[in-house]
């Protein structure tokens, strides 16, 4: 089975259409970014507080907002997270709201107070089972000792209650409960949780209707550090790529590859802005991977162009580029297709946490492949054509696309193989 049996497409002839398409996408993307007032930076870069909460039933957003008002947090943002059926929201505070407070987590504590007031139960002295970790549950069990293990020694008791607490927490986290237990008696399904344990839990704990499943608090100093880090990562990536391609190919190839990659990053960033996704550190990591991948693809095409240059010195450059692309087409489409399958699986099934990351990769694979023959190759052709005219010092009519190859300045960077013609 084969998709492309000896394709003969005139890629360079269509370069006008490709460039138009790219320009349209770029303009749309940049317009989206400007309309939104710049890229949508996530908390890693902006700083602030994010509290992710899951509720047993659909939360009453107005009630939450007015309770937060009472806690002196009128500018808190509420946003739905993941599918509506999961009843999860993100409560966000930006850096200015919390900067005055002494403690980094003052905002988070205020939010938890507000939520406890609405969805918890202020039972004196009791802890919230749905928001306790295994250690806290184990500590309570060890202190109360409902299984009466004190006689068997401290170590045995500690160990047993630790394992029991961990099993109960694991049970609480499994679907369909996903972090919220509505009735203590449900826990009897956990092996080892007999009636003595359950009634002890009922004495020491209450069950709230919300569970904080993730918090992110970034202070101003760390925010600035992470912004710097991100910048270094991207600059280092681009620099490394340029150096590598320059070393392996000629400067013209290198610059063309970098421009193509830059084009990919900009368009993907624009699309990201259009869809109003957040840029976090993992998204930056995805962009860097995109850069590597786009380079990858472009290099394969350039490899073939260079090989053909070595073997067919007499051929018209434009035809040679077209032929090179056609030769690698099968392989390029296949590879991109397979990588696309992989990242699509990640995008569709990988969950919300990694969604931004996988979106960048999906867009990047498509655009990265496209740019190898739509942007990078035309650039090489363009410069390859122009150079003989300039070298002769004449006008445009002295060289051009049909110039015999003897005057073409593009050559193999460092020929270390046997002379041309002896095909291995």
């Amino acid at each position: 089975m084969e998709f492309f049996h000896n394709p003969q497409v005139d890629w360079m002839g269509k370069s006008k259409y490709f460039i138009t398409l790219s320009v349209i996408l770029l303009v749309v993307g940049v317009a989206a970014m400007i309309a939104r007032g710049g890229p949508n930076y996530g908390i890693d870069f902006r700083g602030g507080t994010l509290v992710y909460v899951k509720f047993a039933q659909a939360p009453n957003l107005d009630a939450i907002r007015s309770q937060l008002d009472r806690e002196n947090l009128p500018k808190a943002t509420l946003q739905r997270y993941d599918a509506p059926s999961k009843h999860e929201i993100i409560i966000g505070l930006d850096l200015r709201t919390t900067s005055g407070a002494k403690a980094l987590d003052a905002g988070k504590q205020a939010i938890v107070r507000a939520l406890t007031h609405l969805y918890g139960r202020q039972s004196a002295g009791k802890a919230d089972f749905n928001n306790s970790d295994a250690q806290m549950i184990a500590d309570h069990l060890v202190a109360d000792d409902p299984l009466q293990l004190a006689g068997k020694g401290n170590a045995v008791a500690q160990d047993t209650y630790q394992k029991l607490a961990q099993a109960m927490v694991a049970y609480r986290n499994e679907p369909p409960r996903e972090g919220l237990v509505s009735n203590f008696d449900e826990l009897s399904a956990v092996p080892g949780a007999n009636s003595a344990v359950i009634s002890d839990l009922k004495k020491s704990f209450y069950l709230s209707q919300f569970s904080v499943f993730n918090t992110e608090i970034v202070g101003p100093k760390v925010g600035a550090t992470l912004r710097r880090q991100a910048l270094y990562v991207v600059l280092a990536g681009l620099a490394a790529m340029l150096v590598y391609v320059w070393y392996r190919f000629e400067l013209v190839f290198g610059v063309a590859a970098v421009i193509a990659t830059f084009h990919d990053v900009l368009i993907t960033l624009g699309m990201f802005s259009l869809l109003n996704r957040e840029i976090s550190l993992t998204v930056i990591a995805a962009f860097l991977t995109l850069i590597g991948y786009s380079m990858n693809d472009t290099i394969v095409t350039f490899d073939r162009i260079r090989e053909n240059l070595r073997l067919n010195k007499r051929e018209n450059f434009r035809d040679l580029v077209n032929r090179s692309i056609n030769q690698v087409l099968s392989r390029t489409i296949l590879t991109s297709g397979l990588t696309l399958i992989a990242v699509l699986a990640l995008f569709l099934f990988g969950g919300e946490v990694i969604h931004g990351f996988s979106l960048v990769l999906v867009l990047g694979v498509i655009i990265g492949t496209y740019s190898s023959f739509a942007i990078a190759s035309p650039l090489v052709l363009f410069w390859g054509d122009r150079a003989p005219a300039a070298a002769l010092g004449g006008g445009k009519n002295s060289g051009g696309a049909n110039a015999p190859l003897g005057r073409r300045p593009l050559r193999e960077k460092s020929p270390r193989r046997e002379p041309a013609g002896a095909r291995r």
Partner: protein, 530 residues
Amino acid sequence: MGRSIRNRTIVIIVSLLICVFGIIGFPSTFQALKQNIADRIRLGLDLKGGTYLVLQVHVEDAVNTASDQALSRLRDDLRTRNIAYAEARKTDATHILIKGVAQNQWEQVQTLAQQQFPEWYVQSVAGDPTSHLMVMKTTTEAAVKNDAYTEAMATIRRRIDALGITEPEIAQYGSQGSYELVVELPGVSDPTRVKSIIQSTAMLELKLVRGGPYNSRDEALTSFGGVLPPDTQLLPGTSDSGTPVWYLVDRIAAVTGHDLSGAEPSQDSNGRPDVNFTLTRSGAARFAEITQRNIGKQLAIVLDNNVESAPVIQSQISDRGEITGNFTTQQVSDLALKLRSGALPASISYLQEQTVGPSLGADSIRHGLEACIIGFAAILLFMLIYYKGAGVNADVALILNLLILVAALAYFGGVLTLPGIAGVILTVGMGVDSNVLIFERIREELRLGKSAPAAVAGGFEHAFKTIIDTHVTTVASAAILFAFGTGPVRGFAVTLTIGLVANLFTSVFVSRVIFDYELSRRTAGEALSV
């Protein structure tokens, strides 16, 4: 089977076994299998659940303490040598101003400074011949800061270990002079208690009480005519009834936390929770002398500049004491822990806090595995359909690739994060590219009319250079991400790199062996399934 094929196959099978063993050990039951895998593969915080903290060690506090101590030593020394001076005070953390010394005594001051304060140097004050400035040397300041940072890190590590948190990480964060620390606490989804234990200075001092308790600072000051006696200070405390009071105590402590040899939670004579502490030999000797000379007076037990209690010295005590107060059982346990770990030489503030709940972690694992399995299956299937016989070849190589990747994580203790799982999926997608490159080249060679063995050889040879090229750019990206990234991003870089390196082995070596085996089984001229 040719000898070369057999040897290479043995290499492959042995690698396979090593990998499988590395991942699952020798399990006897299915339950043990799952347990072994869970033990060997380290999960990052985003998959296990836990707390990630970045904190700032305020090393300036330590510099201030050092200059405070130097100042009080200076005053003592000037007094004992009968050098009169108008005033000696700190102008900032590293400068001490000495005013009003007679001209003929300045040389004595200089000598004193050189002999007793080698970490400082003396310089004159422009326009004021009776004043001099003692300045802390920059090397000393740097040493104080670095020592404080190292000691803070060690103290925090002791406290976290004492809490029994499994596999915590405490490490330097940020650039050299930033004095920041990163702390990772797996499994802790409510960090409130741990944070307060880490942050608490826990400086214990026993100081003799010179006056009090007073109901307010003003009352204390007026009873001394507005100026406190030399070398004393006012510290807040609480009376028995719970109202705030103030005590006048010696500035210099008789005994400090450094003299502690142990601290345990216990109960006082009324059965209320308290902390029993024991002293080292030198501390005990000093304590014995002071209690003997001050029987009948009160001894303030000061914790973080707050008077917890001020019992009357009944008789000479040497090596033990107790700290009583309005404590809960949890509080005495935490206090004993903090005292045992030592006082923090500088204060701490938190810069970043991230808490991943265990439900989110379990969720992420589930999603990650799902995406992995679906992506992997889709690619395996595609390769079979598109490349037929060679597709099996690629699939075997891919499976082995995955096994090597997971085994490498298990053997080297690499941490698997959610982006790390994404890296695994990406490895599969990009790794299969190598196979595609080779197979496409083989197809091309076959189209040019070459024989099957020549086509296979040509395919591998031509494709190898390009494979290296494509792997280098991606591994270079990953290396940059590892250098500049933290936590989850690093996990991604690690799995991607290991995966691609393993891919070189599987797509070139393993695939070739399988092809060679296929070729050796075919008669000349029989078509190759690709």
